[in-house]
Subunit: 432 residues, 2 copies
């Protein structure tokens, strides 16, 4: 991020105090209204679902032999990854978005977690896996999968976000749904060996300042990473959310580059070369650079800056009840550390109310936020705005455009707006 | 837990200082040995997996249309839940164990997470779901699923352990594998509404001291819970690890009773009655009580005391490499709060070394521990011993037997022993 962007001043919070009082009143009333909803059922016509013994209480359900490895129940068949046909030339070098509009909490289940391949998801058995560390090292090394399992292991939960997440929004509100605008992201608990451990094993020579990492797939997806980051918090991970990485997430071994763009988290990791300079490969020159307003491009914008999105209500998760208590929820994250606050606006950024974080922000991991309001049934222009531990505040789309114009692709961390109509449906819109 | 058990004195740590020094030396050497393993490959005969372009780098892998909802890669086909045929009369009222020997980290993926049913896993759609709160309340209420979604939500990560976990060990070392001795457990991030919120909505009358909870399945699995616990940290959960609960875990709504035996975490939650006294149902009298040495039984032993197990190496996860660096890892947990320490012994409890916790212990959630040693290739009697924030230390099997004999079923939180042989294979054994 450059200095100009760093210096963007967030919209004034002048309306906040008034708004906050309003929301606190609403919060206090929320319980009572929800009780009204429940009570109406209890007090009205007897509900056969309560008063009569239902079919599912009259016989056996599935035995434990039904699913050695289970899948979601059939009613959740729409909580799946989705791709967008027109976005890429084919399905091989393409993107599958996480259904964040339908999830809660912070952990992304592997089965519906974002995937992006440059030449498809390859099948690579542990026995066939090798990792080579070479270049400016004292001792070039080749590790088998079994070798890696013998090094001290760590566990860390991190988000992975594609640099192109929200990239279609530069030119205006495009895709209608949080899954599509913000679903190039996932958040998992990784187990693996620190990259530092392996690099120290090989012994980095004093002239080594970068590493160049490659995957075992046809694209190889080579990226340069400064040695300082490599020795800081990068992981060579075998497991995600407790189990082996999925095929589409780099089985058996991927790199984790916490807080940095997902493309650098090389999957099917096969080679780490210690170099004096960046390689400046295709994936870090013609791709994954940021076109600016003046037509020039800037490179090496690796960090994913603070960002957030309301996941519900949203275009794929409309309000289906009337006015009254409404849970507004979403996700926030920062590649520079922990999220410290998320503000929510229902009037397109004129006034803001601080949301409740479900847990204190964790370093470079997703944070869930909630705001419980009393919805009056009128339209809302719903926004969220994240602040991270560096004090940086998520900018508006227009603030970003002043610097980068409308032709950029990557690193769009703008405030998102959902126009929630009186009927509860929501649309992706822009507010000026 | 009674006072006698509470007063059990852990084995002396007299050997610890010496052992710890030994382990620290081993730890320092571990890197070098692992390097030796890797270097041998690099320096020996060229490895075609490194020097030749492999088939998976010569074509396309799977496109993003392959798996809207993905499953593990086929090579991981043995990382599945398993049941034990002879343990229960049928597969309907039975148990499916988590493959903890093959997992790492702390999150249990839903697909292979422990399940236990009393009349099978039922299919209950959100539209058909109702939750009634009645009895000693100001206002009986019936909630639909949509009603529940309008209350303020929380996220919490908790372990669920069946009271019968490790129950087969009372009579001696039985099942050969951590999955079977300790796999009636899982650990997930839940999203839902606190039970307190819903009870306050209904308004508990002063004479209400207990709740009685039931599921919508044929067994109903009714259990009494003291009101104090109900108002403390219980959750009415809709989601686990981000997504809707799986069918086998109580879709669409289950109760979470953090730190207390899994049977109380009623699935397909349909009814909460506020009562003056415990109902003393079948599930809390003839079942889920503890037979003691003198033939009497004690009831209401809800809390799962501090416990741990080495998951690798273990009978299902033998050591496949020779002597040298070895990662010993496992899980620890306590229903009374956070784990503060885990000690590991390789000599059957004579000497102990403090393991490294992958992250500070969390309240009533699984904690991963690691101990990195230099294995000399000789047999080990591997044990782990957890300490929780109350200062309680996990007891030996014999210490528990002195109080409860060998005919108990539930609440066996004894120290587990794996006999790891010189060839790397491991067996479930007892040490006296």
């Amino acid at each position: 991020m450059d200095e100009k962007e760093r210096a963007i001043t967030p919209a004034t919070d002048s309306g906040l105090a008034l708004s906050r009082r309003g929301f606190l009143r609403a919060g206090a009333a929320a319980g009572a209204m929800a009780a009204g909803t429940g009570a109406a059922l209890a007090e009205g016509t007897p509900d056969p679902l309560i008063t009569e013994v239902q079919p599912w209480a009259q016989g056996w359900g599935d035995g434990v032999d039904a699913t050695p490895y289970g899948l979601p129940i059939r009613f959740e068949g729409d909580v799946v990854r989705r791709n967008v046909g027109w976005l890429t030339a084919d399905v091989i070098s393409s993107i599958n978005f996480t259904p964040i509009h339908a999830l809660d909490g912070t952990i992304t289940p592997a089965g519906c977690a974002f995937e992006r391949h440059h030449s498809g998801a390859i099948e690579l058995a542990k026995e066939d896996y090798r990792l080579m560390i070479h270049g400016l090292v004292d001792k070039p090394l080749v590790f088998t999968y079994a070798d890696l399992e013998r090094f001290p292991r760590v566990n860390r939960t991190y988000f992975l976000e594609c640099a192109a997440n929200t990239g279609m929004e530069w030119a205006g509100a495009q895709l209608n749904g949080a899954q599509f605008t913000h679903g190039m992201i996932h958040n998992m608990e990784y187990s693996g060996v620190t990259l530092r451990t392996l690099l120290e094993e090989a012994g980095v020579k004093p002239e080594g300042k970068w590493i160049y990492v490659e995957g075992a797939d046809a694209s190889s997806n080579g990226r340069s990473i400064p040695l300082e980051k490599a020795l800081d918090d990068c992981l060579v991970a075998f497991k995600a959310n407790g189990e082996a990485l999925r095929k589409e997430h780099g089985y058996p071994v991927r790199l984790c580059v916490p807080g940095w763009e997902g493309n650098m988290w090389v999957k099917w990791l096969r080679r780490i070369e210690v170099t004096e300079n960046a390689v400046e490969s295709r994936e870090e020159t013609s791709k994954y650079t940021d076109t600016l307003e003046d037509g020039t491009s800037r490179k090496w914008t690796w960090v994913m800056d603070a960002k957030s999105v309301v996941t519900s209500p949203s275009p794929q998760a409309p309000i289906k009840h009337g006015k009254g208590p409404l849970v507004i929820t979403g996700l926030a994250w920062s590649g520079r550390g922990a999220i410290t606050a998320v503000d929510v606006s229902i009037d397109g950024g004129k006034t803001w109310t601080e949301a409740r974080l479900a847990a204190p922000g964790q370093d470079k991991a997703l944070t869930r936020f909630y705001l419980d309001i009393e919805w009056d049934g009128s339209e809302m222009f719903l926004q969220s705005r994240a602040t991270d531990e560096t004090g940086y505040v998520q900018p508006t789309k227009n603030q970003l455009r002043e610097i980068r114009g409308e032709n950029s692709v990557y690193h769009n961390n703008c405030i998102q707006t959902w126009w929630v109509k009186a009927n509860g449906e929501a649309e992706n819109v822009e507010v000026s």
